[in-house]
Symmetry: C2
Subunit: 203 residues, 2 copies
């Protein structure tokens, strides 16, 4: 059913199509969602949808890139005035439940595609996403090592991956089996921070 | 296309249907896979499929329960002769890449459903699965506390969840974006073990 909607400017239409696609992908999965269903839910014809996105893949790529950008921007703003690298990581972790609840649909889409998609283009944009997440934490950990707050005999790549692994697992459980675990990513991440402390540091 | 296949005994037919459904769910997602497609791929009619499984949900439940059982059985056998709780956890972690590669299809199915399904019955059997995984690690950690190997001022529930979070995240990345991270769950899990050491323990 196509309902009458006021005509939107190109940029607004693009945003609306992205929002509608994110909701449908999250609800039915990207495989089960057709571009016809997306156009229909957005109140436009398929040719109009194709003016903005050539394919379902293109929509997925745009959703994922948007999410990466929004995540990095939010985190940079959050830690802007925090000098301590371990406090930076804790602040991001404490704010993460709100962040992931706000972006819950996009997380369903990305985690669902990561778990099930075999499409090269889809997997390659997911790879891009985690490369950015990894670089973000890698840099914070490097900074902590330079300041002597973190032990320097550890490849920062490992704790950066630990944070990502923990973040994916915690988000999968808390978004989809809410109330199953009483622990948040802020609780869980303390073991990574404790492993980063120099051997001679007090507690 | 239904091809002629030798008639199987009920138990063998059930196994075959489970194996076929796991493959199709992993490849196309549970939502996109019809019972007709499963029957077809197994070379039987839908009424024969329904004699064994009343619905797609029932197949999913059986796949997940099988995976929980197989995981717990494998792990118990692996650590049977290992006295140290931290070595038990390390041994399971070191063997995990083979374990998850062997059960890769089932992992795709469960992680895909966890990320995307809103079906109560599906989510409830996934909850059962993680409850068993959690109980398993909870008991190993409790044992380590009783032996004085792990600090006793920590709720064992937290590190048990940390292991699960880390396991989900690491498996999602390594099964689907292979070669992206050089680190395995055995590397990543060391930070959890280090946080379990009593404060006065050496190294």
């Amino acid at each position: 059913m196509t309902i009458d909607m006021p005509r939107l400017k190109a940029a607004e239409r693009r945003e609306q199509l992205l929002a509608v696609a994110t909701k449908l992908f999250a609800k039915w999965g990207a495989t089960a969602t057709t571009t016809a269903a997306i156009a229909d839910a957005a109140g436009v014809t398929e040719p109009i949808l194709y003016r903005h996105f050539r394919s379902k893949q293109d929509l997925f790529v745009a959703i994922t890139r948007r999410m990466s950008e929004e995540t990095v921007t939010t985190w940079k703003r959050l830690i802007d005035n925090i000098p301590d690298p371990d406090q930076k990581i804790r602040t991001i972790a404490r704010e993460f439940p709100q962040h992931s609840a706000r972006l819950a649909d996009a997380y369903h889409v990305i985690h669902g595609a990561l778990a099930t998609s075999r499409d090269r283009k889809i997997l390659s944009v997911i790879r891009e996403h985690y490369t950015q997440m990894h670089a973000f934490f890698y840099n914070v950990i490097k900074e902590g090592q330079a300041l002597g707050q973190f032990r320097s005999d550890m490849d920062p790549s490992l704790p950066a991956w630990e944070i990502i692994y923990m973040g994916i697992g915690c988000t999968m459980i808390s978004l989809n089996l809410s109330d199953m675990s009483a622990f948040t990513i802020a609780d869980a991440i303390e073991c990574i921070l404790s492993s980063l402390r120099p051997p001679d540091a007090k507690k």
